[in-house]
């Protein structure tokens, strides 16, 4: 995607954000918003990562919505998990930092995978180094050395959808 299109897309995003935040559609407000959005779109080095044309693919948006729904489900599960662990008198935790290998390629996919993992039951991403994610797990499994099973347990449910959204 060439520079002009990217700037235009940046402009549209800033402008829509302005309209949503101010929520007033008299002409002064709109003009100020347009001018400011233009200044930001030209002055800043660009909002979107490489491959921004992926934004225009309806298939990707469909999978993004599927991902969001599954993510919301797992967030609710995560909250009941924390509820159980925190309110249990014996504090049933077995924490540790494990590492998992992701098969996702693009940086955005990895970033969203890390965020999704943080919001799901018992796991918190600490760092990403190349293809390895370091994850703090509040209830580590018995079979510690079985990296494949751990990966499947923590990341498997999101990799399927995120691959279709980003890669």
């Amino acid at each position: 995607m060439d520079t002009l299109k990217r700037r235009l897309l940046d402009f549209v995003i800033y402008f829509v954000l302005w309209l949503l935040l101010t929520w007033s559609f008299d002409w002064q407000g709109v003009v100020v918003g347009a001018v400011l959005a233009m200044v930001f779109a030209l002055a800043l080095s660009g909002l979107l990562p490489k491959g921004a044309e992926r934004l225009f693919s309806p298939v990707r948006w469909f999978w993004a919505i599927i991902h969001l729904i599954s993510l919301l489900f797992w967030i609710v599960m995560a909250n009941f998990d924390v509820l159980y662990r925190v309110l249990h008198p014996n504090l049933p935790i077995r924490p540790g930092i494990v590492k998992i290998k992701t098969t996702l390629k693009s940086d955005e996919a990895k970033a969203f995978l890390a965020n999704s993992i943080t919001l799901t039951p018992g796991t918190l991403t600490i760092d990403i180094i190349d293809d390895w994610l370091y994850v703090h797990w509040i209830n580590v499994h018995e079979n510690l050395e079985d990296a494949e099973a751990i990966t499947k347990d923590i990341a498997g449910r999101f990799e399927v959808t995120l691959r279709r959204v980003f890669d």
Partner: protein, 112 residues
């Protein structure tokens, strides 16, 4: 916008506040910084998200509701990023895991 609060916003905001409370309890009860971040991130994210959605349902699609919706999306997006930064920073700064922890692959691999 009426001053009377409907049933749905009340329920949403009540559940949100409850989860926020559980997150705060987790901050006190769990042993080390990483476990505490777990509780804080998950519960406070969903709790705040539900409160903001409750505000949206209560006020409808006007200036306040839209701002609440944007804030809800923003919280969902940024709070795991923030907790990652805190956990990584704590680990690099040398904060030890709780002594009952099973394994620390991050330390093994990076030496930090």
């Amino acid at each position: 916008m009426s001053s009377q609060i409907g049933l749905v916003p009340i329920i949403l905001i009540s559940i949100g506040v409850t989860f926020d409370l559980v997150g705060a309890l987790g901050l006190i009860r769990l042993p080390d910084v990483y476990n505490r971040l777990q509780a804080a991130t998950k519960c406070v994210t969903l709790g705040t998200f539900l409160i903001l959605i409750g505000v949206l349902v209560h006020s409808g699609w006007n200036a306040m509701g839209i701002k609440a919706l944007l804030a809800a999306i923003f919280v969902l997006w940024t709070s795991p990023t923030g907790s990652h930064a805190l956990a990584r920073g704590a680990h690099i700064a040398g904060v030890k895991l709780w002594e009952g922890s099973i394994v620390d692959k991050y330390k093994e691999d990076t030496g930090r």
